[in-house]
Every structure is written in C-alpha cells, then in structure tokens.
C-alpha cells in the first residue's frame, strides 16, 4: 500500500522537477498522496473485516447450534496465556501509534525505537501463540480428523476428547470414577496450563478446534504479515525515508496493526472466556 516510487531521488527530480522525490508523479502534492493512501488503507481494512466476518459468522452459527461443544471445549484453552497475549498485542499497538507520532514529528530515533518495539511485541505474541499451539498439538486438540489425544491420555483420562463421536457414552461412565483426576497427567506435564474438563464430552468437539485454529491461524497469519511490513518500515526508517511531510506508510501500517489487534480483542473472549 505504498505510494512512493522506488527510484532514486535524482531520477525523479530530473523527470518531474517540481515534485519532491517521495511523491508519485500522478499526485499533485504530499497531502493528495497521503489522503489517497489513507482512504485506500481504510477500504482495505473493510475487506479485512469482511474476510474475518465469515469466520465470526461460522462461530456464531455453531455456538448457537451447539453451545455445549463450546462451553466444554473452551476449557482446554489457556486463558492465562491468552490474556498475556492480549496485553502484549495492546502494548505493541501503543508503540505502533507512538511510531506514527514520532514520524510526524520527525523524531528518527524514536521512530526506530517504537518500530522495533512493535516488532518485538509481535514476535512475543507469536511466541506465546506457539507455546499454546504446541500444547494443543501435544494433546491432540486439533481440527477434524487430526483430533485425538495421546493413547495414554485416553486410557487414563475418561474425559479426554476422543476420536469417534460415539465415545460420549464411554466418557459418561468413566466420569464417575475419574472426574477429579481427569487431566492429572496432562496438568503435570503443562504445569496447570488448563483446568480439568467438567461433565461428559459432547459430540463433535473437534468443530470447536476447527473454528479455533481457523480463526487464530488466520489472525496469526496477519500478525506475520504485519511483522514483515514492520521490518520493511524499520529498514526504511533507518535509511531516513520518513519525514514530517512523508510518513504515510508508517501511518497506514499502524492502522492495519490496530485492526489486527482489535480482531484479537474479539477473538480472545469469544474463544477463551466462554466460562
């Protein structure tokens, strides 16, 4: 979503004498270019919202059709890690907003610092997400046909999610014996990463994990794209491209970053805080 031409200033001055190097030839002035870029970014964000809306819609449909799946399966999510991640992402949004201010004021050092902090926050988010995902992978809490717990967990823990839908009955019978001890093994391994499951397992718990991985996965992909763009901005900031009358890319990327943040702020309670 950048507008500036990549060519060197010298070429540009030669071609369009009255244009500063950062203004593309078809714009009248810096403001015209900035306003156009900003409108383009907002429209792009609208497409992003609609892109996610498909999954929010699927979430709403399945949650209203199968509330029991959601309230059961959400127990396996770690709301502590999710909460930390929310804070991390909000902080990186703050530094992103700060970077815009630095760019506006021409504070190059502040800009580099805040951009770097934003990138660190984004990596922090992904790191925590990786820890969460690896727990899910380890426990077999995965979408569709990959949804299965490890064999010893099935044997030990009556309530552990199981592959076939018919296991619901089995879970009920075993619930008498082992509700309290449920997930003891898992808890030992992950130091209390999630609370023991309550009640019998409903059918098709895997739908929840399908939606969970689809939503957080696509969100994570947006974080990765954001990191890529921020690294590019950092590179340009070090090169000294940005100045008070040319900071569009910093501004537009921050808008994108806030949207990624905002989507997570919806995802977190919808997925983690069902109880």
């Amino acid at each position: 979503m950048t507008i500036a031409e990549p060519s060197t200033p010298v070429q540009h001055e030669a071609e369009h004498g009255d244009h500063p190097p950062f203004i593309a030839h078809h714009f009248e002035d810096a403001n015209h270019q900035f306003e156009s870029g900003k409108l383009g970014m907002w429209i792009f964000l609208v497409t992003e919202i609609l892109f996610f809306s498909g999954m929010f819609c699927a979430y709403a449909v399945y949650r209203s059709m199968h509330p029991e799946i959601f309230s059961y399966a959400a127990q396996f999510l770690d709301s502590k890690l999710g909460g930390i991640n929310t804070v991390v992402l909000i902080c990186s949004s703050l530094t992103a907003a700060w970077s815009v201010r630095c760019a506006q004021l021409g504070q190059r050092k502040g800009l580099i610092l805040t951009l770097a902090l934003t990138i660190i926050g984004a990596f922090g988010f992904l790191g925590i997400k990786y820890v969460e995902y690896s727990h899910k992978f380890h426990d077999g809490l995965l979408p569709g046909k990959y949804y299965q717990v490890q064999s010893e967990s099935v044997a030990d823990v009556g309530l552990a999610p199981s592959v076939t839908g018919a296991e619901g009955d089995a879970a009920t019978t075993e619930a008498d014996s082992g509700a309290a001890g449920a997930h003891a093994a898992v808890e030992d391994e992950h130091a209390g990463s999630h609370a023991p499951a309550e009640g019998p397992e409903p059918d098709n718990v895997k739908i929840f994990f399908g939606i969970y991985f689809a939503m957080t996965g696509v969100h994570g992909l947006h974080v990765i794209i954001g990191i890529g763009v921020y690294i590019w901005l950092l590179f340009r900031a070090i090169r000294g491209d940005f100045r008070p009358d040319y900071y569009g890319p910093v501004d537009f990327t921050a808008l994108y970053w806030h949207l990624v943040d905002l989507i997570w702020i919806f995802l977190f309670p919808l997925l983690y805080l069902i109880h």
């Binding site: 979503m1 950048t2 507008i3 593309a24 030839h25 078809h26 015209h32 306003e35 156009s36 870029g37 409108l39 383009g40 429209i43 792009f44 609208v46 497409t47 992003e48 609609l50 892109f51 996610f52 809306s53 498909g54 999954m55 819609c57 699927a58 449909v61 399945y62 059709m65 199968h66 995965l142 979408p143 569709g144 046909k145 990959y146 839908g165 059918d203 098709n204 895997k206 739908i207 994990f209 399908g210 939606i211 991985f213 689809a214 696509v218």
Partner: protein
C-alpha cells in the same frame, strides 16, 4: 490544473504514445502504466475466454446426441465445471473493470494514472498467478464440482478442488486490488470541476462495481479458505459427515457470488450508458437516476443471495423475504432500461458497431432480466430450479448482457487503445452473426428447461429434447463464427486499419481529449472539464473524421 485547451492532439507527434514509448517484454510486464496493464488484461482475459469457449463448444457438441459421444459422464462434469469456473473467475468478473476500466477510468478523469499504480500491477500479476492454478487444475485431474464448489461433494471429490479454490482465492485478491484502486481513484483523482454528478456514468458504474468487489470478495476468500481447511482436516464446518452445515456453505458462497453477478452486469450497464448517449447524439436521459440506480443495484445485490437456495432447505420465511427483495432489484434495472430508451427517443441514432452492441445488450438483457423474475418467484422457481431455464436466464444476462457490452466497449475504445479504425462493415456483420448465433443457442433453452430438462445432465430423453439441443449446438457454432469474425476484424485493423483521430465517435468524455493512442502520461495538461453528455458543441471535421469542440464550448470548470 490547466486552464486552456487548444487543440486536442497537439504534441502527440512529438511525444511517442504509450505503446511506443518503451520497448521489450520487461517494459510491459513491469509497467506501472494503467493503459498497458489494461491491454495486458485484455489479452489475458481474451485468452481465458477462448479457453472457456472451447469448453462450451465441447459441452454443446456432446449434447448434440444424448449419451456418450466423445466424453464420458465424468468428462462431461469436468467440461461444464471448467467452462463455468474459467468464464466466471477468469473472464467475466475481471473482464470489463480490469481490461477496459483500467484503460479508460483514469483517462475519463483526466488523470495520469490510477491512485495506486503498483497495486494495479500487483493485481495483474495475482490474476496471472491465479490463472496458473486454474490451468494446473486442467493438468491435475480436472474439476467436477461445478463452479460453485458446493459441499459436501467438494469435500469428497477426487478432483483438484484445492488447486481450483486456491486459484479463485488468489483471483479474489486481484479483484479486491482493482476495486480499492478504482474507489480511491474516483474519490481522489477527479479534476477540479468534475463533481460527483458531472462524472461520466461509466465511472458511476465502475464505482458501484468496485464497492461490490471490495465488500463481497473477501467473503468468498474466507469461504474458499475454510473449504480448503475442511478438505485438508475434515474440520466439520461445512461437511455434514463431521457435524458441519452444507447450507452454511451455500449462504457464504452466495453472499459473494450473488453480488458478483452485479460485478458482471454493472460495468456492462455502465458501458451501455455511454454508448447509447454518444451514438444518439443526445444527453443521457435521467442522469441522476442512472447513477443512483447503479449504487442501488450494488447495495440491494447484497440482500438477495438467498434466492439461490429456495430449494436448499432454507426456512419458508427467509425464502419469502429473499423473493420479495429479489424483485426490488428489478426496479433500478428497469430504470436504466427506460432511461436508455428515452435517451434514444428522437435522438440522431447512428448504427455504428458499438451502438449495435448496445442495442443487442438492451434486447438481450431485457429477456435475461425478465426471465429472472420467473426464478425469483417461489412457486415457479420450485419447478424451474436447476433446469435449462436457469442456464438460459443467466447466459442471457452474462453473455447477452456482459459479453455484448464488453464487445461494444471494446469496439468503442479500440481506436483510443490502439489508434486504428477497424472495418465497420466487417465488425457489424460479425456482431449480427454473434447476435443471431447467441439467440439460436440460448433461446431454445427456455422451453427446454420449462419442459423439465435439468442442467448439468449428460443424458436426456431423445424424443422430447433432441431438437432443442441440436438447435442450441448449431447456434453455439454460429456464435463462435461471429466471435472469430470479431477477432479477425480487430486484429486486421492493427495492421491495415486507418489511423484513428483523437475523437472518432464524437464522445464528450475526457478520454477523447487524449491522443489516439494516448501518450504515456495521458495528457500534456489536464484538459478542462466539460459536460460529459453535451454533444451540440462538438463538430466533425470531414477531412480527418475527428470531432472537436467549437469555440462556443464552455468548460464547466471555468465559472
């Protein structure tokens, strides 16, 4: 902003045009010039159209006799799927906006380029990339789900669903990029004096189209992504075997794909609005109503997707509401048709080839639109659903509407794009052959469907249906000859056509102020803004065939 405009093409001889200003394939593939990107799109979508047309010919030849002639049942499923998918995703949706729109839109604004030239190029590359996936589908087991990818079959099918869905996903991005670009360009690049209601109606149509592209396409994107996810993991979102809901897939799919129908038809209407006015030498009748009706169609188009699902098991209440909303779309559509007719009334109509296409469009769109009402009515749709009546209906809108308007626009702007006039006689004959062939091919499908022939069937009852099918096949071949004629006429013009003047048709919109073909930066100075539908101050010079403004012509910006 410049203040005066002396002669139209002064300096065009000095500065080379956009086709000649740089050479080599790199100067094309990496160009940021909207005109070159438009031309590349034109070539690319024409190639796709040719491919989709071959599939169509295969379908029609197979149906000449019931039962297996030269493809088996599975082969037939692949033929109609690939025909639909290629035509929809690679030709009709990008067709007018990306090829003609890209070329004309900045010129009509007197601008040097679209707002984001690099995003424009990215859009073309994404299109090429997505098209490669579609070609990969051909090589890797084909696709037999129908272009709609309905679940659960698309989850189970042994064909290359993932490659096709990925291709459509990428093409969606290409479409979104074009949409964002056009919205921003129209908002921000209008010259001083061109208010919203002094814009050419083509721009209104492009704007409405871009709104749909931006709002609907992401939903298709996530739908296809979830479909691929479902296929890979069995996540149970759309597949009932895993607790999913196939109706939800249909809702998602049509939430995009019904508005997409208007991505196809709105640009066509936009072209016709220009053609009818220019070739009647009369200001467009009801300018504001045509402009508003484009936006109304775009917005109402989002509220009618459920009419594709009357027989899919949606609730009766939902079906009744969707039916009523569907009828509401016919109001802005009818407003346009009435206004075109009123524009022609007492006009000085010239039957140049672009106007022939415009007339063909009005005639065919009328049939296509009115038969849509049969399908929007619940009781008749239960009978007609998934029959050849539906096939005939949407071909009248998509081919009779969009394709004919596209060809009309192509003939209209061809002199501007390539600086050559084509043989008027050859073009007119090709147009008439295509028109006749189209009607012979598709009109029989209305009674065929009403009598009960289901769509997508390979076999049919010989005694009842064979005459309709054979007539349709003959018509298809005739349509093919007409299209071939168009290609020959246009390509010959590049070699031996007369040099085109800047304004051969007497259009009053700003692209005709540029040279034919335009220079790299379009204009030396932004031309003054005139009323886009005022023709009485344009005079034709018999020697050059060029129209230019008389001294009395007053630009609207100088007040």
């Amino acid at each position: 902003m410049s203040t005066t405009q002396t002669s139209v093409a002064v300096g065009a001889e000095v500065e080379p045009d956009y086709l000649a200003c740089s050479k080599g394939w790199k100067s094309w593939l990496f160009t940021l010039d909207h005109k070159r990107i438009g031309v590349m799109y034109l070539i690319a979508i024409s190639a796709s159209f040719f491919l989709g047309g071959l599939f169509a010919l295969g379908i029609r030849l197979e149906l000449f006799h019931p039962g297996e002639d030269f493809v088996d049942a599975d082969g037939y499923n692949q033929l109609f799927t690939l025909h639909g998918a290629v035509m929809v995703f690679l030709f009709i949706i990008p067709g007018i906006p990306a090829a003609l729109g890209n070329f004309v839109l900045p010129l009509m604004l007197g601008a040097k380029d679209v707002a984001f030239p690099r995003m424009n190029l990215a859009s073309f590359w994404l299109w090429m990339f997505g098209a490669v996936f579609f070609v990969a589908v051909l090589a890797s087991g084909g696709l037999d789900t129908g272009w709609t990818f309905y679940t659960p079959y698309s989850v189970e099918a042994q064909t290359a669903v993932i490659a096709a869905a990925t291709g459509a996903f990428i093409l969606g991005f290409s479409s979104i990029f074009t949409g964002i670009n056009f919205i921003v360009t129209i908002h921000k690049m209008r010259p001083v004096g061109m208010t919203w209601f002094r814009m050419p109606l083509f721009l209104w149509g492009m704007y409405a189209t871009a709104i749909i592209q931006v709002l609907a396409t992401p939903v298709l994107g996530i739908t296809l992504l979830l479909l691929v996810f479902e296929r890979l993991t069995g996540a149970g979102i759309f597949d009932p075997n895993n607790g999913g809901d196939p109706i939800l897939y249909q809702h998602f799919f049509w939430f995009y794909s019904h508005p997409a129908v208007y991505i196809m038809i709105l640009p066509a209407m936009a072209i016709v609005s220009e053609l009818v006015s220019v070739f009647s030498r009369k200001p467009i009748f009801g300018y504001k109503m045509i402009a508003y009706s484009s936006v109304a169609i775009a917005l109402l188009g989002f509220l009618v997707w459920g009419h594709h699902m009357f027989t899919s098991g949606e609730s009766k209440v939902a079906a009744a509401i969707f039916s009523a909303l569907t009828f509401s779309v016919s109001i802005p559509s009818a407003i346009k048709v009435f206004n075109w007719l009123a524009t022609m009334y007492k006009g000085s109509i010239s039957l140049a080839t672009p106007m022939l296409y415009a007339l063909a469009f009005i005639f065919l769109f009328l049939i296509g639109g009115l038969t849509g009402l049969f399908l929007g009515t619940l009781s008749t749709d239960v009978h007609l659903h998934d029959t050849y009546f539906v096939v005939a209906h949407f071909h009248y809108v998509m081919v009779g509407g969009t394709l004919f308007a596209f060809l009309g626009g192509l003939h209209y702007w061809w002199p501007k794009m390539f600086g050559r006039m084509y043989s008027e006689k050859g073009a007119a004959i090709s147009c008439l052959v295509a028109f006749a062939g189209f009607n012979i091919a598709f009109f029989p499908m209305f009674p065929l469907g009403a009598k009960g022939m289901p769509r997508r069937y390979w076999y049919y009852l010989e005694q009842d249906f064979i005459s309709y099918h054979q007539l349709a096949t003959v018509g298809t071949v005739l349509l093919g000859f007409g299209l071939l004629g168009i290609v020959i006429v246009l390509l010959r013009s590049l070699k031996s056509g007369e040099k085109a003047p800047a304004n051969p048709w007497g259009g009053a919109t700003m692209e005709w102020d540029a040279a034919s073909p335009p220079i790299h930066h379009n204009f030396h100075h932004t031309p003054p803004v005139h009323d886009p539908y005022r023709f009485d101050d344009l005079r034709r010079d018999p020697a050059t065939g060029n129209y230019s403004r008389t001294d009395a012509a007053e630009p609207v910006s100088s007040h």
